[in-house]
Subunit: 363 residues, 2 copies
């Protein structure tokens, strides 16, 4: 067994974990269904109260005319960009170099829709108003991801977001929001979802990040836009005869957790400060702006794994099941605060960080 | 309220129904989950025992090296044809004019994959060996649907199927099976699924037709083929973080119903004979070759609806909630035998058909 397997095993043996909502297991579905009547009718190819009512509710939350439930954000966002591209008569769209569409979707946008993305900004920083102003003519749609996940969940200041939105409207460039973690950034912005979405022409949100559902997404915009998205949803093979297992869990966990986002954000700041107090550890961003951040270590995975295993074993607190190599003598992992963090006692947490710091200092 | 709404309402008020497995409602999911442990781990982007074990099981059933679980058949089949088209270096594929890809998918195959289908046979008959021999050069892949749903679920004789398969192999034409209702035709053919699938290079099966799951499909073939299909599954947005709600229901209802297919077939023949004994009614096929057939009436929907409503009201037996207009003075509906048929007593059934025939004779 190598160090990384040993780390996973030690993590699985811990009593409490700092991140997430808990294990992804069937209990998640069963809990959501417990209060649902057996006689509730399934949705049928996008029709029926179970899907239509939730779409109406989410359109209201996002301040858009209409919304459509999708099995995945991958499908929803490719379709959004395709519609805007067709509307504008240009195959050129713009997004961040670490956009989900660019690095996690096997180039579906290019292979299925033949769109031509322009990568804005460097991969280690946010897109700025200047980037947008310099992107040249012919861009149908600009996609912004809030927060920018792959760089730790960073956010532009709200004023800059407003300026980008105003510029795009002025220039006739469509603005689409990758809001996979939209609800998670609202406490920092001090805005409602509808206020943020008001800056965008179309919006995608996810139900299995901060919300903690099983899968599923919503795409929102004008009714004309969402009606067109339903045609593409069928083309993609996403107009399933029934999507209710995902809809019911999305609705249940949205109800459970939407009010907890401010708490997750405060806890993320508290936890990031604990990490930053340790030798050879830093977080990105240093002060989180949502429930997420990345934890960077100035040690190789091989050096760090035994340290973490000792922390897990001695304190019963699990930090991460795995580490990503980021250089010859550095590694990192992504952390999302969820329901589990509240289950860790403050003294035990401080004890774990004292031990972590001590071991890193010695190492 | 027009006649068709009145028909639906009268159907919903019946005590027993002749077709299907029962209502599509949350009870279907709850029943399947009842015996599943809460601690069962979710699948994660195609990995994990819950998805991998079921894929292995289905590959075995279908006699193929490997299989992949998909959220929908629409997605699975477009991808199958795309892979074969790329492999053969030709955008031309061939299928029946009433193929699902041609009439129910908003032209996804053309819009997303830019394939060029050749429509074989007339829309009201099966594809024959002669059609295949005459389709000309350059066809990458031929798709056959068993049974051909849109014409009542007709089937070629097995010897003709074997001859088509042999011809395609000889000519280097890939043969793909749309087996949405494959399990339902095995009693007629007297073959195993693996024997039928042995005639094809790739196979798609569905879990919400005769099996009665919620949604979901499997695509099977060589490992090289299924590995490539996973890349396209991600591109389509079908590689959901978790598909277990569909997998667990597919597995449960497959276990429940795979052994009942022969019974459904016998019952379909019995019921079709009852329909054919009535005036102005005929079934297609006259003698079913699976659990399904179409019921054709030589009356308009407007004339027939009050007749059916009277049958439903007086006997408590529901035939169909809706009718499809097929001409100025004709209409039809599709019927699939499932679990419900066994719940109808023979005397009550015969009484209902006596009344139906009497009313049609008078009408």
């Amino acid at each position: 067994m190598n160090e990384q397997n040993a780390l996973l095993e030690a993590f699985n043996g811990t009593e409490v974990q700092l991140a997430g909502h808990g294990k992804r297991e069937v209990a998640v579905l069963k809990e959501a269904l417990a209060g649902v009547e057996e006689q509730l009718a399934a949705d049928l190819y996008g029709s029926g109260a179970v899907i239509e009512d939730f779409q109406t509710e989410m359109a209201g939350v996002l301040g858009k005319e209409s919304s459509v439930f999708f099995p995945s954000g991958t499908m929803a966002q490719q379709i959004a960009l395709r519609i805007w591209s067709d509307r504008k008569g240009s195959k050129r769209v713009a997004y961040h170099p670490l956009c989900h569409l660019e690095i996690h979707e096997q180039d579906g946008l290019k292979e299925l829709h033949h769109l031509e993305p322009l990568l804005l900004a460097d991969k280690d920083r946010l897109i700025t108003l200047d980037d947008v102003k310099n992107m040249g003519a012919g861009i149908a749609c600009l996609l912004l991801e809030l927060p920018q996940r792959e760089i730790g969940g960073q956010l532009p200041e709200y004023a800059e977001l407003e300026a980008i939105s105003a510029y795009c409207r002025e220039q006739g460039i469509i603005l689409h929001l990758d809001g996979a973690r939209l609800f998670e950034v609202l406490p920092y912005y001090g805005k409602t979802a509808a206020e943020v979405c008001g800056l965008f022409d179309s919006v995608y949100i996810s139900f299995y990040k901060g919300i903690g559902g099983i899968a599923g997404a919503v795409l929102a915009g004008s009714r004309e836009f969402t009606e067109e998205s339903k045609i593409w949803k069928r083309r993609h093979g996403g107009d399933l005869i029934s999507l209710y297992p995902y809809i019911l869990t999305a609705k249940y966990y949205y109800g459970q957790r939407i009010g907890r986002m401010a708490g997750y954000y405060e806890q993320a700041k508290e936890l990031a400060a604990l990490f930053n107090s340790c030798h050879k550890v830093s977080t990105l961003p240093e002060v989180p702006v949502s429930n997420m951040f990345h934890v960077h270590f100035a040690l190789s995975r091989e050096q760090l794994a035994p340290v973490l295993i000792q922390v897990y074993t001695e304190t019963g607190i699990g930090l991460t099941p795995r580490l990503k190599e980021t250089g010859e003598a550095s590694c990192a992992y992504e952390l999302n605060i969820g329901d589990l963090y509240s289950g860790v006692s403050k003294p035990a947490l401080e004890e774990a960080f004292r031990l972590l710091d001590k071991l890193l200092q010695e190492g």
